[in-house]
Amino acid sequence: MAEIPLETYKTDVHPVWCPGCGDFGVLSALYKAMHALQLDPTKMVFVSGIGCSGRLPAYVKAYGFHVVHGRTLPVSMGVKLANPELTVIAVGGDGDGFAIGGGHIPHAARRNLDITYIIMDNETYGLTKGQVSPTSQIGHTSGSTPYGNVEAPINPIAFAITYGATFVARAYSGKPKELVDLIVKAVQHEGFAFIDAISPCITFYDTYKMIPKKLASVPETHNVKDKAEAFKLALDTEHLYMGLFYLESRPTFEESVMATVHRAESKGMPKFDDILTAYR
């Protein structure tokens, strides 16, 4: 089969993002990952929430579903239950994923839903012009915290590992090569693949100078199957580790659900009349 060119994955819709937004890096990495994997865009669905990142599906030539705030994961589950053959990539910001939608990550993770979930994490609410988010640091001043943020931020990596995500990684939009590599692995992973993609907001919380100072690669010696070791790296306050923290292999939700269906079906389709007769 002829190679699918990179350009095939792009639409001609111009992104609304501010020049210099980290989300451009994530989008570009997605194109490259799709190209590297030669994915059939007809069988792909991008599901997004609300926020700057929510606009992403329109920029990819594939099927897209731009849903309500915080609910990318339940919608992704519906898509996969309807058609497990589809490749589903859910994208959203840190507010969409950890604030309004925070209640869904634990369940997608423990079910091991076979999707890739990329959080474009900029530690702020960009689309509403700069308020604190669940990943903002203590002391961060913003529109809604003029005297400084008093709430401790969540730790996305530790959060995802705790709830049973089977692929947990962090990337940085400013390191495109590594980001492409992680997306490729995440899509290939059978199960719930979570990427905390640091994607700075140049307009309301510019961290381009701050991030690289703390950035470090996950050590080459790290055993990705060692959960305790993965937590140690996640909880490290000195470094912001980038790379794959944790990897686990267990049956996906769709596999398990479809196995149930096949077991039930193998007993033979019930006749409608027989179902009725049970109510005599």
Partner: protein, 576 residues
């Protein structure tokens, strides 16, 4: 005439409901028509439970009015229900559980030592339920072999001993009544001569079955009374026909999963009660905006808030009609009977698919958990509709929201080559591209509402009239009150009153023309509703200009009895 109303009352969790179900099925197997009504405590153990079954050899439209036979397992059951017993009705009570009740002189009382027989003769305390069934069998001529058949099906799988004990209990009750109860009442069921091919099921079971017949493939839900058994039924049956059921983390996730599945091409549905529907309203707006078929069942219960979880109410009509932001067209269907639960859910899924919009189906606790005998023919000749899909020519230069005469556009699903689009809650144009232009918003809003207008004819045709087509005294009710109203109309007509009832099935779009025609000669309109404010009356006033309207509202968690409707008819006639 064979028409007896039985009520069984006792401690919750001690088998009152299953006893009632056995009685119901035995009667149905003996070819009687049955109609049940139950209330039960919100607690799992303890509290008071009761089960009512009306039996007749002709079509039953309601649970009836007063009781003919009250079976009281304890003092509380007597205290609660004795006042509903007819003069000269039968009180059957466990004489070991409480002493001779004071009302014994105004009824026919039979004390049976149910507990003593259960403990001493059978050696199983809870067998008093089955003993009571034996007593009922003997006293009212309910064929014993129907009970034996049911006990065999229910208990044989639990082992020979359990089965034998229950058969012994049944016979012990029968024998005790034959030997020790001197029958002085006149209730006796005469055998039905015409055989009927019926099944006995609850509203929730009929709905779940209807959904399967309509081609449901994905069900997502969150447990909530009184809708939970829809999910449990489907969890058992849907995988057998290749469908999947998922219990989500909340109702928001349930409707989200439904929309995801429908976006990807499968028929999908969820069921909930008022609190859950409240949570789903944001997603319903998305379903309207992205034109994705979906069905949401609301088994209404007493509200607001947690309210009366195990009691009935028609309080969610406003939420179903208006619950959402923006001009958000959706279809609202109210189910009217157990038979209609099957047909109505098929209609709902068909409309959702054909018109690519959310359909809210209103049931309630009264309908959800009542059993009725339904002719098998009700389940035949089901017409199934599928959503409009793009042709290969339409996929070249595909426009997801192409403007059409009906407002319905061909819907591509992932996997369709050339059908790429992003479904979005943001306003968009025909090609699904974002557009915030004022003219576009007007065009697309009108498109979404056009689909609703296309359904007006269906709504007008679906409404049913009972009694006079253009009555002087008009009644319009909705939902599960259909049978009760119809019975009241029949009785009023027997008394030569100029009465008729219209019962719509689609509430949105509203059957305006049909209502107008129906009201042409009316001098007064009665609107009975199980809610405090008259939510349907408000809806009607928004579409039809008519006065005077006599609202009949109650919200005590119980359905109407035919008597109450009849009393209102007489009242308006007198003052009319």
């Amino acid at each position: 005439m064979n028409d007896i109303v039985f009520r069984i009352g006792g401690e919750g969790g001690e088998g009152v409901i299953s006893t009632g179900e056995l009685l119901t099925r035995a009667l149905a197997r003996a070819d009687y028509e049955i109609y049940t009504f139950r209330t039960y405590p919100a607690e799992i153990k303890g509290g008071h439970a009761n089960f009512q079954v009306r039996v007749s050899d002709r079509l039953l439209l309601s649970q009836g009015d007063k009781l003919d036979v009250l079976l009281a397992f304890n003092q509380e059951a007597y205290d609660r229900h004795f006042k509903f017993l007819k003069v000269n009705g039968v009180l059957l009570y466990d004489s070991d559980s409480f002493s001779t009740p004071p009302g014994i002189n105004s009824c026919i009382g039979y004390g049976v030592p149910l507990t003593k027989i259960a403990v001493e003769q059978i050696g199983l305390k809870f067998s008093k339920n089955i003993i009571a069934l034996g007593v009922l069998s003997e006293l009212f001529n309910i064929p014993l072999e129907k009970f034996e058949g049911l006990i065999s099906e229910k208990f044989k799988k639990k082992g020979e001993e359990v089965y034998t004990k229950n058969i012994q209990a049944l016979e012990a009750g029968f024998d005790y009544a034959a030997q020790h109860v001197k029958k002085v009442d006149s209730y006796r069921l005469e055998p039905v001569t015409h055989k009927r091919d019926v099944v006995v099921m609850t509203g929730n079971e009929a709905m779940a079955l209807g959904a399967v017949a309509a081609g449901l493939k994905v069900y997502a839900g969150y447990p909530i009374t009184p809708a939970t058994d829809i999910m449990e039924w489907l969890a058992r049956e849907l995988p057998k026909v290749g469908g999947v059921v998922v219990q989500t983390e909340d109702e928001i996730a349930a409707i989200g999963t439904v929309l995801g599945a429908s976006f990807a091409g499968k028929k999908a549905m969820t069921a909930t009660a008022g609190p859950g529907l409240s949570l789903m309203t944001e997603f319903l707006g998305l379903a309207t905006m992205t034109e994705i078929p979906c069905v949401v069942i609301d088994c209404q219960r007493g509200g607001p808030s947690t309210g009366l979880p195990t009691k009935t109410e028609q309080g969610d009509l406003n939420l179903a009609l208006y619950g959402g932001h923006g001009d958000s067209p959706r279809v609202v269907i109210a189910l009217t009977s157990v038979a209609d639960c099957f047909q109505g859910i098929i209609r709902a899924i068909n409309i959702a698919e054909e018109y690519q919009m959310p359909v809210i189906v209103l049931s309630d606790q009264y309908l959800a958990h009542r059993m009725a005998s339904v002719e098998r023919s009700n389940f035949e000749s089901v017409e199934i509709k599928e959503r409009l899909r793009p042709t290969p020519a339409q996929l070249a230069g595909y426009k997801r929201y192409a403007l059409t005469e009906t407002g319905v556009s061909p819907m591509a699903i992932p996997g369709d080559v050339g059908g790429f689009y992003t479904a979005t809650g943001l306003e968009h144009d025909e090609a699904a591209e974002l557009s915030f232009e004022s003219q576009n918003h007007e065009i697309m809003t009108e498109k979404r509402h056009r689909k609703l207008r296309m359904l007006e004819k269906t709504s007008n045709e679906a409404a049913k009239v009972y009694g006079l087509e253009q009555p002087e005294i008009a009644i319009i009710g909705w939902g599960s009150s259909e049978g009760v109203i119809r019975e009241a109309v029949e009785r009023a007509q027997e008394e030569k009153m100029p009465v008729g009832a219209l019962h719509p099935k689609l509430l949105k779009p509203f059957p305006t023309q049909r209502v107008q025609t129906f009201l042409k000669k009316a001098k007064v309109l009665i609107i009975p509703e199980i809610n405090f404010t008259g939510q349907f009356a408000s809806l009607l006033r928004a579409h039809v200009s008519f006065e005077p309207i006599a609202q009949l509202n109650k919200c005590g968690g119980l359905p109407f009895a035919p008597e109450e409707i009849l009393a209102k008819i007489k009242e308006v006639r007198k003052h009319g």
